[in-house]
C-alpha cells in the first residue's frame, strides 16, 4: 500500500517533467529530428524542388565523392576555413585571456572598457556582420573606395607599418611572416569575437579566493609564479568552455566563406543534395576539432574543491 502510493507520486512528478519540456520535445519530434534526418538523406540524393514537393533520386556516395574529387573550389575553401578556425581560436583565447587579466585590475574607466569589449556580442552580429562582409568584397574589387567605413582593412595596418617587409628584413622565415600577417590582418575579427570569452575569464578571475594569493605571497612566490601556479590552473576549466564556445561561434562566421558557398550551391545552383553533403562534411570536421581540443585541455584540468 505504502509502496504503491509512493510510486504513484513519483510518476506524477515524472509526468510534470515531460510537461515542462513539452515545447522542446515537440520541437525535436516534429521539426529538429526530421530536419536533421532529411538533411542526412538529401546528402545521398540528387534533390530538386518541384511545385508539388521535392524530387529525390538516390545516388549513393556520389555527392561526397564530388565534393573531394571534382569540386576544386570547395576543397580550397574548406582547407582555408579549417586553418583559419584553428588559428583564430588559439589567438582569440590568448587575446581574451590577456585582456581579461588587464580588465581585472583596478583603474578608472574599467566599466566603460568592459562595455565596449562586450558590445560586438550584441551589435556586430547579423545585420552589421553581413554589411561588413559585403564591404570586404567591395574593397577587394576596388581598393580605392573607403566610403564603406569598414574597419582597418588588411591594407591599412600593413601599409602603415610596412610590417611585411619589416618582418622579412629581420630574417623571419616566410611561413612565420605569413602567420603573423594573417593574424594582424584579422585583428578586427578577433577583437569582435572575444566579447563573451573576456567576460567569462574576468568572472573566473574574480572567483579565485584572494587568500590563495596572500598565502603564496607569504611563501615568497613571485607574480610570474603566481600566474603559472595559481591563476592558470584555476582558469583551465574556463579555457575549455571558451574554446568550445569559440569554435561553435567561429565556424558559422561568414568570414571563412564556407557558409556562403554552401548557401550558393543550394539556392543559386539548385544542388540541394550536394549542399547537404557539403554541410555534413563541414559539421563533421568541426566536431573533430571540438573533440580533439576538449580532450587535450580536459586532460590537464585538475578540479580543486
Amino acid at each position: 500500500m505504502k509502496k504503491g502510493r509512493k510510486k504513484a507520486l513519483f510518476t506524477k512528478r515524472e509526468l510534470s517533467g515531460y510537461i515542462f519540456l513539452l515545447p522542446v520535445i515537440l520541437g525535436a519530434i516534429f521539426i529538429f529530428i526530421p530536419a536533421i534526418a532529411n538533411s542526412f538523406i538529401y546528402s545521398f540524393n540528387n534533390v530538386t524542388v518541384e511545385f508539388s514537393g521535392i524530387e529525390k533520386t538516390f545516388i549513393g556516395w556520389q555527392n561526397y565523392i564530388d565534393a573531394f574529387m571534382v569540386d576544386t573550389e570547395f576543397r580550397l575553401i574548406l582547407a582555408n576555413a579549417a586553418k583559419g578556425i584553428v588559428l583564430d581560436t588559439v589567438v582569440i583565447i590568448l587575446f581574451s585571456f590577456f585582456i581579461s587579466n588587464v580588465l581585472n585590475q583596478q583603474f578608472k574607466g574599467r566599466g566603460i572598457a568592459r562595455m565596449i569589449f562586450f558590445m560586438p556580442v550584441i551589435l556586430t552580429t547579423g545585420i552589421v556582420a553581413k554589411v561588413e562582409g559585403a564591404n570586404a568584397l567591395y574593397s577587394t574589387m576596388e581598393i580605392a573606395t573607403d566610403s564603406s567605413g569598414s574597419a582597418f582593412g588588411q591594407m591599412g595596418i600593413r601599409g602603415f607599418f610596412h610590417l611585411e617587409s619589416m618582418l622579412a628584413g629581420v630574417g623571419l622565415p616566410a611561413f612565420a611572416t605569413n602567420l603573423v600577417m594573417s593574424v594582424v590582418g584579422n585583428i578586427q575579427n578577433i577583437v569582435n569575437s572575444s566579447g563573451v570569452q573576456i567576460i567569462v575569464f574576468i568572472s573566473a578571475l574574480q572567483a579565485i579566493n584572494p587568500s590563495v594569493f596572500e598565502a603564496s605571497k607569504m611563501e615568497g612566490a613571485t607574480k610570474w609564479e603566481e600566474f603559472w601556479k595559481i591563476t592558470f590552473p584555476l582558469l583551465l576549466p574556463n579555457v575549455l568552455v571558451c574554446v568550445v564556445y569559440t569554435i561553435i561561434d567561429t565556424f558559422t562566421n561568414p568570414v571563412y566563406g564556407v557558409v556562403d558557398y554552401i548557401q550558393s550551391q543550394a539556392f543559386n545552383s539548385g544542388k540541394m543534395g550536394y549542399a547537404a553533403a557539403l554541410s555534413w562534411i563541414y559539421f563533421v570536421i568541426v566536431l573533430v576539432f571540438l573533440g580533439i581540443s576538449s580532450s587535450i585541455i580536459s586532460r590537464r584540468i585538475t578540479y580543486i574543491d
Binding site: 529538429f32 565596449i116 576596388e142 566610403s147 573566473a204
Partner: protein, 303 residues
C-alpha cells in the same frame, strides 16, 4: 634568525616604493594605450559609418574628405529612411522581437527548470539534445527546414510570413535558444533545495512551486534572457532572410536600401542603413548593459 633577516629586508625595501611607483605608472600608461587602441578599433567602423551618412555627393568623390563631411547634408538620411520604410519597420520589428523574446523566455524557463530539478526518464537525453541543437550549424538543417516551411503540415506555405520565427521560438529552436535553456538550467540547479521542499510540505503542486517560489527568484535572469533574445532576433539575418524574406523586419529593410548608380555610394548607403537598423539595439545595450554583462558572469557558464 628569521626575524632578523626579515627586519633587514624591510629596511632595504625602504627605497623600493619609488621604483615600484615608476613601474606602476609605466604599466598604467601602456594599459591605457592598449585599451584605448582596441576600444577604438571596435568603435571605429561605427563612427565612420555614422559620419558617412551625413556626407553629400561631392564629399564622396573628394579624396581630401576622409571623416568629417565638408558639405553637411541630411538628404542621404531621408532617402534611406524612406527606402527602409523606417517607421513601420521599426514598429513591426519591436513588436515581433518582443513577441519572440517573450516566447523564448517562457519556453527556456520551463525547460530549464524541468532539466534542472525534475528527475524523469530521458532527462539527460533531452539535455544532450538541447546542447546538440545548439551545436548543429544552421546550414546543415536550413534546406529541410525551408522545405518544411514551404510545404507545412497540410501543404501550407509559410515561407515569407512571420510564422517560421514564431514556430521555431515556441519549440525551443529559436536563435541560440539552447543557450538560454542552459542558462536557466544552471540557475535553477544552484537554487537551494530547501525552498522547494518547504513548498511541497505546505502542499504546493510542482507547477505552483515553480510559479510561486522558483520563478520570482529568477526575475533578473528572465530580464537578461529577454534582452539577449530581443537583440539577437533583431539583428538576426539567417532565419529572417531565409524563411521570412518579404516581412517588414529590419534585416530585410536593410536589403531594400540602394543608392543610385555609383557603386561606392551603394556601399555607403547599405552601411548607413545597417547603422539605422541597429540604432535601437545600441540604445537598449547602453541602458541595459549591466544585465548583458552580469548575465554572463552569473549564468554559471563559468562553472
Amino acid at each position: 634568525m628569521t626575524k632578523h633577516t626579515s627586519f633587514v629586508k624591510k629596511k632595504k625595501c625602504w627605497k623600493k616604493p619609488q621604483m615600484r611607483d615608476i613601474a606602476r605608472l609605466t604599466w598604467s600608461i601602456i594599459r591605457f594605450g592598449i585599451l584605448l587602441g582596441l576600444c577604438f578599433m571596435i568603435i571605429y567602423p561605427y563612427i565612420v559609418k555614422i559620419l558617412n551618412t551625413f556626407k553629400s555627393y561631392p564629399d564622396y568623390l573628394d579624396p581630401t574628405v576622409r571623416y568629417i563631411p565638408k558639405y553637411f547634408t541630411l538628404d542621404n538620411l531621408t532617402t534611406i529612411l524612406e527606402q527602409m520604410n523606417y517607421k513601420k519597420t521599426l514598429i513591426t520589428t519591436v513588436l515581433y522581437s518582443s513577441l519572440i523574446a517573450l516566447i523564448e523566455v517562457i519556453v527556456s524557463a520551463l525547460a530549464g527548470y524541468g532539466l534542472a530539478r525534475i528527475k524523469f526518464k530521458g532527462n539527460k537525453l533531452l539535455f544532450m539534445l538541447v546542447i546538440f541543437e545548439l551545436l548543429v550549424p544552421p546550414q546543415t538543417v536550413f534546406m529541410p527546414m525551408y522545405i518544411k516551411f514551404r510545404f507545412f503540415y497540410g501543404g501550407l506555405n509559410l515561407i515569407n510570413t512571420y510564422w517560421p520565427g514564431i514556430i521555431l521560438a515556441c519549440t525551443g529552436l529559436g536563435i541560440k535558444n539552447g543557450l538560454f535553456i542552459f542558462m536557466f538550467r544552471q540557475f535553477f540547479k544552484n537554487m537551494p533545495k530547501e525552498l522547494e521542499e518547504a513548498a511541497y510540505v505546505d502542499g504546493c503542486s510542482v507547477f505552483k512551486t515553480f510559479f510561486k517560489v522558483m520563478l520570482p527568484n529568477a526575475v533578473t535572469l528572465m530580464v537578461t534572457v529577454f534582452l539577449f533574445a530581443f537583440a539577437w532576433q533583431w539583428t538576426d539575418t539567417t532565419n529572417t532572410t531565409l524563411y521570412m524574406r518579404n516581412t517588414e523586419l529590419m534585416a530585410n529593410a536593410v536589403n531594400n536600401v540602394n543608392g543610385g548608380e555609383l557603386s561606392s555610394l551603394v556601399v555607403a548607403y547599405n552601411n548607413s542603413g545597417a547603422m539605422l537598423a541597429v540604432l535601437p539595439i545600441a540604445l537598449v545595450y547602453l541602458v541595459g548593459q549591466k544585465f548583458f554583462i552580469q548575465s554572463v558572469e552569473r549564468s554559471g557558464i563559468t562553472g
